[in-house]
C-alpha cells in the first residue's frame, strides 16, 4: 500500500502542478483580449470576473482544461458516432490507419530483422541504410507522399498507413535484430551439441529469445505509428481523422477544437501503448519469461 502511495503521490503532485500552471497561463494569456472587451463595453470589472471570463471564451488563446474536457465530452458522448463532428468518428479513422500501418510495419520489420540476422551480406548492406532512412524526416514529406499517391489513384487508408509503416518498421527492426542476437554463446553451443539445423535454432532459440525485445519495440512503434497517421491526414483537405480536426481547427482559429483533438490523440496513444503493454505482459508470462 505504501509502495503504491509512494509511486502515485509524486505523479499526482506533478500533474496537479501542471494543472495549476495551466490555469494560471489560461488567465494570463487570455486576459489581454478580455480586458480589451471590457474596455470596449465600458463595464466595470473585478479580478474575479476576469478569472471567470478568461476561462469561458469562445476562442481562447489557451483554453482551460475543463473547457477541453467539456468539448471532448460534447463531441464523443453527446454526438452520434456517424456524425462528422463526432470525435469518435474521427478517432476511428485515425485508429484504423494507425493499426494497419503498425501491422505492416511490424511484419516488415520482423522480416528485415530475420534476413539481417541470417545473412551477413544483408546485414552489411542493409543496416546502414535502415538507419539512414530514419534520418530523413519522412514525417515532414508525408503530405507530398499522400498527394502523389492520390494522383495515382491510391487514396484513403493505404497511403496514410504507408507513412505509419515507414515510421514503425524501424524500432521493430532494431529491437528484433538485438533480440534475435541475444541468445548467449553458451545456448548457441548447446543447440549445436543437439545437432540442430539453422532453422531449428531459429525457431527454438532465437525467436523465443527475441519476444521481449519485440514487444518493447512494438510499444515505441505503435506510438510513432499514430503520429504518422495524424500527420498523414493533414494534407487530405481536412476530410476526416484527428489530423484533419487539427488542421480545420487551425484554419478557423478554433483553439478548443485543436486542443480536444490533441488530447484525444494523447489518450489514444496512451491506450494503444497500454494495450501493447498488457499483451506483452500476458504473452511473456505465458512463455514463463516473467512471473
Amino acid at each position: 500500500m505504501t509502495g503504491m502511495v509512494n509511486r502515485v503521490a509524486p505523479i499526482a503532485v506533478v500533474v496537479a502542478a501542471i494543472m495549476i500552471i495551466w490555469y494560471g497561463f489560461t488567465v494570463h494569456l487570455n486576459a489581454p483580449w478580455q480586458i480589451d472587451r471590457y474596455e470596449k463595453a465600458g463595464t466595470e470589472w473585478q479580478m474575479r470576473d476576469l478569472v471567470r471570463d478568461t476561462m469561458a471564451q469562445e476562442r481562447p488563446v489557451l483554453p482551460a482544461p475543463h473547457q477541453i474536457v467539456a468539448e471532448i465530452w460534447k463531441t464523443t458522448v453527446k454526438k452520434k458516432i456517424t456524425s462528422k463532428r463526432s470525435l469518435i468518428y474521427h478517432g476511428s479513422v485515425t485508429l484504423s490507419s494507425t493499426l494497419l500501418g503498425f501491422a505492416m510495419g511490424t511484419i516488415l520489420g520482423i522480416g528485415l530483422a530475420v534476413s539481417i540476422v541470417e545473412n551477413r551480406a544483408m546485414d552489411k548492406s542493409l543496416m546502414p541504410w535502415i538507419i539512414t532512412s530514419q534520418t530523413i524526416p519522412i514525417l515532414a514529406i508525408a503530405p507530398m507522399i499522400i498527394v502523389v499517391l492520390n494522383a495515382v489513384g491510391l487514396s484513403g487508408l493505404v497511403p496514410k498507413a504507408m507513412i505509419s509503416t515507414y515510421l514503425s518498421f524501424f524500432p521493430v527492426v532494431v529491437g528484433m535484430v538485438k533480440g534475435l542476437r541475444s541468445p548467449d554463446p553458451m545456448l548457441m553451443d548447446l543447440m549445436r551439441t543437439y545437432r540442430s539445423s539453422r532453422l531449428q535454432t531459429f525457431w527454438k532459440l532465437r525467436l523465443p529469445a527475441s519476444v521481449p525485445f519485440l514487444f518493447a519495440s512494438m510499444k515505441v512503434a505503435i506510438a510513432i505509428s499514430l503520429v504518422g497517421a495524424i500527420v498523414g491526414e493533414l494534407p487530405t483537405g481536412a476530410v476526416a481523422g484527428l489530423g484533419a480536426r487539427l488542421l480545420a481547427g487551425s484554419y478557423y482559429g478554433q483553439t478548443i477544437q485543436i486542443w480536444s483533438a490533441l488530447i484525444s490523440a494523447a489518450c489514444m496513444a496512451a491506450i494503444l501503448v497500454g494495450v501493447v503493454g498488457v499483451i506483452s505482459h500476458l504473452t511473456l508470462r505465458r512463455m514463463g519469461l516473467r512471473a
Binding site: 509524486p10 538507419i131 539512414t132 524526416p137 514529406i141 503530405p143 495524424i230 487539427l246 485543436i258
Partner: protein, 366 residues
C-alpha cells in the same frame, strides 16, 4: 562456396540466358552489345559449376559491366532483354557482396574499407535501379522523377535550396534544438537533486515523449506568429522530453561502488557530477541528442505546413507539390535527408570521441 551462393549464381546465369534468348528472338532492336553482355553474364553464372575463377571480383566486374551497358543505352524504349539483364546484374552484385562477406581472415584495413564500401555499393545500386526503372518503364515524372532529373534540378536551384535550408534548418530547427536540449539538460540536473520530483516527472515525461507532439504546431503558429520563432517553439517542446528522460536515466546509471569510491576520495557534489555521473550519462545523452536531431527537423518542417513566410523546406514542399513540380520537392527532400544524415553522423562522430571508453565504441577483440 556455399549452396546459397551457388543458387544466386545459377539464378543470375539463368536471368542472363533469358536475356540472351529474348534478344535473339526480337532480333535487331536489342543490338550486338546487349547480346554480348548477356552471353558473358550467362557464362559468368555457369562458371561456378566448373569451379573456374571463383573470386568475388569477377562477379563484381560482371555486375558493373552490365550496369554500365544498361546506363549507356538508357532511353524511353529499352529492349525487352534489358529487364532480365538488370536482374542478372543485381544477382551478380549480390553474389559479389555475399562472397566477400563470407571470406575470413581479411586484413584489418581491407575489412574496414569493405564495411564502408558495401553499403555504398548497395546505395548506388538502389539509385541505379531507380534511374533505369523510371526511365525504362516511362514512369510519369509527376509520380517518381529519375535521380538524374532531381540532381539537375538540385544543381540549378541551389540558391533557393540554400535559403530554405537556412530558414528551416539553421534558424528554426537548430535554435529550437539547442534551446530544447539545453533547457532539458539543466532541468534534468536540477530534478536529479530532488528524488520526489524525479519520481513524479519521469513517468509524465515518458508519457509526453510518446505523444504526437507535432500536433501542437498549429497552436505554436497561433502564439508565435508565422516566422521561424513558432517553428523553433515546436522544436523546443518536441526535443525537451526525450532529452529530459534520457539525461535523468543517464544520471542514475552510476553504480554504488563507483559512487562510494569517489566518496572515499572526499569528492564534492560537483566533482562527483563532472568526473563520474556526467561521463556515465554521456551515452544516454548522446542517444537523446541523436533522436532529437531528426525530431527537430520533422518539427520544423511540419510546423511550416500551418503557416509560414514564403521560404523554408516545408513551405517549398507543400507549394511545389501543388504545382506538380515533383523534382523540386525531391530536391528539397534531398536537402532534408542530407541535413538529417549529416547531423546524425556528426553526433555519432562526436559521441565516439567523447565516450571512447564505452564498450560499444571499443574495438572488438577477436
Amino acid at each position: 562456396m556455399t549452396g546459397f551462393q551457388r543458387t544466386i549464381a545459377t539464378l543470375g546465369g539463368l536471368a542472363a540466358a533469358a536475356a540472351l534468348v529474348i534478344a535473339f528472338i526480337g532480333s535487331g532492336e536489342a543490338g550486338i552489345a546487349l547480346l554480348a553482355a548477356s552471353l558473358v553474364l550467362a557464362l559468368a553464372g555457369m562458371r561456378h559449376h566448373f569451379s573456374l575463377w571463383p573470386q568475388a571480383r569477377v562477379d563484381l566486374v560482371a555486375s558493373l559491366g552490365g550496369m554500365a551497358l544498361l546506363l549507356s543505352r538508357l532511353d524511353g524504349d529499352m529492349p525487352t532483354a534489358s529487364w532480365p539483364l538488370l536482374i542478372a546484374c543485381w544477382l551478380f552484385g549480390w553474389l559479389a557482396v555475399e562472397k566477400t562477406m563470407a571470406a575470413r581472415n581479411l586484413p584489418k584495413a581491407l575489412s574496414s574499407v569493405l564495411s564502408l564500401a558495401v553499403p555504398v555499393f548497395f546505395g548506388a545500386w538502389i539509385i541505379f535501379a531507380w534511374e533505369v526503372l523510371t526511365i525504362g518503364l516511362q514512369i510519369p515524372t509527376v509520380l517518381l522523377p529519375p535521380p538524374s532529373m532531381i540532381a539537375v534540378r538540385f544543381a540549378e536551384s541551389t540558391s533557393i535550396l540554400w535559403a530554405d535550408f537556412q530558414q528551416t534548418v539553421i534558424k528554426a530547427a537548430l535554435s529550437g534544438y539547442i534551446l530544447g536540449c539545453g533547457s532539458a539538460f539543466m532541468v534534468a540536473i536540477l530534478i536529479d537533486r530532488v528524488p520526489f520530483l524525479q519520481r513524479g516527472l519521469l513517468p509524465v515525461g515518458n508519457f509526453v515523449s510518446a505523444l504526437p507532439i507535432v500536433g501542437i504546431a498549429p497552436i505554436m503558429v497561433m502564439w508565435f506568429g508565422f516566422d521561424w520563432q513558432s517553428k523553433a517553439a515546436v522544436v523546443v517542446v518536441m526535443t525537451f522530453f526525450p532529452m529530459l528522460v534520457n539525461t535523468v536515466a543517464g544520471l542514475q546509471a552510476t553504480q554504488a561502488m563507483e559512487r562510494d569510491l569517489l566518496r572515499t576520495y572526499a569528492s564534492s557534489y560537483f566533482q562527483l557530477l563532472i568526473k563520474l555521473r556526467l561521463p556515465t550519462a554521456a551515452p544516454f545523452i548522446f542517444n537523446a541528442l541523436k533522436i532529437n536531431s531528426t525530431l527537430a527537423l520533422i518539427g520544423a518542417i511540419v510546423a511550416e505546413f500551418f503557416g509560414t513566410p514564403i521560404v523554408g523546406l516545408g513551405f517549398r514542399i507543400s507549394t511545389e507539390v501543388g504545382r506538380m513540380n515533383v523534382d523540386m520537392v525531391w530536391a528539397e527532400i534531398v536537402v532534408a535527408a542530407l541535413a538529417g544524415s549529416l547531423s546524425y553522423g556528426l553526433l555519432s562522430l562526436l559521441e565516439r570521441q567523447v565516450t571512447f571508453w564505452h564498450p560499444s565504441n571499443r574495438r572488438k577483440t577477436p
